[in-house]
Amino acid sequence: MTRVTRRRFIQSSATAAGGLMLAFHVPAFGKAKPFDAATGGSEINAWILIDPDDTITIRVAQSEMGEGVMTSLPMIVADELEADFKNVRAEYADANRSVREGGVYNRMLTGGSSAVRHSRPYLQQAGAEARERLVKAAAERWNVAPAECYADYGKVYHRPTRRSINYGAVAADAAKVSVAGVKIKSPRDFDLIGLPTPRLDVPEKVDGSAVFGMDVRLPGMVYAAVVHCPVLSGTLRGFRFNAVRDKPGVIAAVRLERGVAIVAETFWQAKTAAEALPIEWDIGEDGRAFSDSMQRDFVAALDKEGALVDNQGKAAETMDLADKVIESQYVVPYLSHACMEPLNCTVQVSPGRIDVWAGVQDPLSALKAAAETAGVAPENVYVHNCFLGGGFGRRSHPDYVREAVQVAMEVGQPVQMIWTREEDSRQGQYRPMAAIRFKAGFDISKNLIAYTNHSVTHSILSGINPDAVKNGVDPTSVEGLSNMPYRVANKRITHTIKNTYLSAWFWRSVGSSQNAFALECFVDEMATAAGMDPLHFRKRYLADRPEMLNVLDQLAQKSGWGKRMAYGSAQGMAIHECFGTICAQVAEVTVTEKGGLTVDRIVSVVDCGNLVNPMTAEEQIESGIVFGLTAALYGKLTIENGRVLETNFDTYRMLTMAETPVIETHFALSGGDKWGGIGEPGTPPVAPAVCNALYRITGRRIRSLPIKDYYLSRA
C-alpha cells in the first residue's frame, strides 16, 4: 500500500524514476528511447546526432500537433543520410540554441501548411552533409579515397574491398571532419521520401506516455487556474482573496491585467477557489456587444466602397450591359479553435533563467514573449516544446505563455497554468467574422462577362503586423478571393477591414476557411445562371489552369460525378487552392424526410506537387475534412452582452464518429518544385461542397454558416 499526498509527491518526485517525471529535457519521440535525452552520441551537425549503437536522433524544428512533422521531416533528413529509418528517433530542436547560434534552426513556426515546403531544401542539405562526413570519416579510417566509398542503409561501404562500417562506429570521427560543396539528391534518387511511413509518435500516443504541455511534472510544481474578464476587452478592478485564501491547497492569488490567477497545490483546488473568488470587472462599452448586430454592421459595410484588390477590364460597365446579373452575399461567424488540449503552460523561474514547457506552434515567438514578460535576455529563456494537443493556428499565439510567466514570476515556484475549456474558449483569437458579396454578369449566350466581389472581414494582421496590411487590404482576409482562379475578362475585387473588440487569429486554412465557402457556393450559383452543370462550368472557366482541370477530371471519375442519387440525396462539389495546394471535393449528402441531414461520403482529389509521406498526407486530408465539416454544420460563436456563449463542447458542438462520412482521398500530383502543403487544404472545400449538394436537394441556397441554423426540407 503506497500512500501519496500531494505534498509528499512534490518532495519525492525529484528522485522518482519513470516516464511521468519529465525533468529538464525536451520530450523526444520515436522507437528507440522515447524519453531519454540524447546523450552519449555524436552530433554530426545541429540536426543530427548518432549514438554508438546506431540510433540516429533527428531534430525537428516544427511542432507536432497531429500533422505528422515528427515523421515527415526526419524522413527528409534520413533519405539523404541513407539511414535505416528503423533506427531513427526524433526530438525537438532547441529554440534557445537557435537564438544563441544565429538561427541555426531557421524558421520554427509551424503554420501556413509550410513545414515540408519550406524546410525540405535545408533538411536535405543537413542530411547530405552528415552523410558525406560519415563517408569521409570511414574513408580516413580505412585510409582509402572517399570516392571509393558510399553510404547505404546506415553503413558506409568501401566498394573495392566490400568492407563496411556502421554509422555508430564512425559517428565520433564524422563529427570532426569537414566537407564542402555537398549536393543534395534530386527527387528521382529518393528512396524513403514518398513511401507511406507510419508515424514515429504513434506508439507513445497509445499508452498515455506522450508528454503534452499539461503532462509536464516538475519537482515542487504548483498549479494555477485563471479567471478572465468575461468580456474580452474588459479589465480587472479588484478581487477579495481573503474569501478563498483558506480553501484547501490555496497558495496565492496573482493579479493579471485581464484577470486573476489562483495558485494551489492541485489544479482542482486552484480551479475551485478561482470560481469562488469574488471579482469586480471594468467591462465598458463592449458589454453591450451582440454578434447579430456585428453581423448586420459587416453586411452594411458591403454597401460602401472598399479598397481595391484587383481590377481588370471594365467590370462595372460590362455589368450594366449584361443580359443577366446575379448577386449574392454570404456571411460567416467567429469561430474558436477548440484544440482538444486546453491551453496551458508550465514555467520555472530561476535566477537569470526562465524555463517554459508548453505545446507551442512557434517556440521562437514563445521564447521572445517569455523574455519580454520576465525582462530577461532571450538567450536565457529555454522553451521546451511538448506534443501539442491540437494547434490549428491557436498555439502560434503566445498569450498563454505570457500569462504563465507572469504567474510564475510572482509565485517563485514552478507553476503549471491551465485555462479551463471555458476560459480557453473566451480568450479571443477567433477565426474572423466576414461578409462577402458577389455579382456576376452574363451575356445573352450565358457567357460570364463580368464579376465583382467585395468582402468585409475582421483583419488578423492589422493587430499583429500592421505593415503587412497594404492599401487597406489584409492579404490573409482575401486569400482565395484575390486569387480567384476562374477566368473572366472584367473583374473587380475590393475589400474592407472591419475590426471589433474581439481578436482575430489564424484558424486552420485562414482566409480560405470563409472565402472558399462563399466563392465556391457562388460558383454553383453562376453555373445555375449559365444553365451549366457545376463541373462543366468550373472546367470551362478554369481552362487556363491545367492542374485544376486535372484535379477536377480525376474527382469526377473517382466520385462518379453525375451518377443517379436516391430522392433526398445529392452530390455537390467545390475546388479551392489553399497555400498553393489544390483540393477538390465531392460531398454526397442526404436530407431525410423529417429534415435531418447526413453527410454520407466525401471524395477528395489533392494536388500538392509532391509528397514526402503519403500516409500522414492522407490523414491530414481526413482531419481537415472533419474540421471543415464541424464548422460547416455547427460552428458559431454567439456574442451576447459582450460575452461568448459557446464555451464548451455542450454548446460548441464537434462532429462525432457517427456523423463522420465515408472519406476517400486521392492524390493527383503534378510534381514540379512544389512539395507538400497538406495540413490545411482539406478544410476549405467541405462547406461549399456540402452546401452545393444541399441546394440540389432543397432548392435553397445556404449563404451563411453554420448549416444547423437552417430548416432543411426536400424540394
Binding site: F9, V206, G208, F267, W268, F392, R421, E622, A658
Partner: protein, 152 residues
Amino acid sequence: MIRLRINGQDHELDVDPATPLLWVLRDNLNLTGTKYGCGIGQCGACTVHLNGQPVRACSTPVSQASSFEVVTIEGLSKDRSHPVQQAWIAEDVPQCGYCQSGQIMAAVSLLKRNARPSDADIDAAMTNICRCGTYTRIRAAIHKAAAMMGDA
C-alpha cells in the same frame, strides 16, 4: 483518507472526496495519460474503467471510485501489447493524440461487451470527441482489434 485501487495498485490519498477522479489521477498520482478536455462529461478524453465500465473521470468524484477497480490507459498493458493498442498502431490512428487515451479506453470496453461490433454499434458506443478527426481510423482499428481478439 480515500482508498483507491488503480491499475492493480492500492493507494490511500488525502484529498477532498468531491475531487473528480480525473484530477486525482493527474495531479495526485501523476497518471497523466488520462486527459482533461472539457471537464463536463462531453468529450471522453478522461475515460477510464471502473470495474471494466467506461466512465468519464472528470465527472466522477473520487469518493465514488473508491469501491471499484480503476484502470487507466497506463494500466492497459505494460508494453502496448493490448490488441486495441496494437490495432491503433497498425492503423496509424493518433494525430495530435490528445483524445486517444480516452478513445482507446472506450474501445476496449466496447469490445469487452461486444466482441464483433458492427459500424452501428461503434457509432453508438464511441461518443468521444476527436478534434483531429481520426474517426475513420478509429473505426478501422476497432474492427481490426475485434478480428485480432477473435483469432487469439
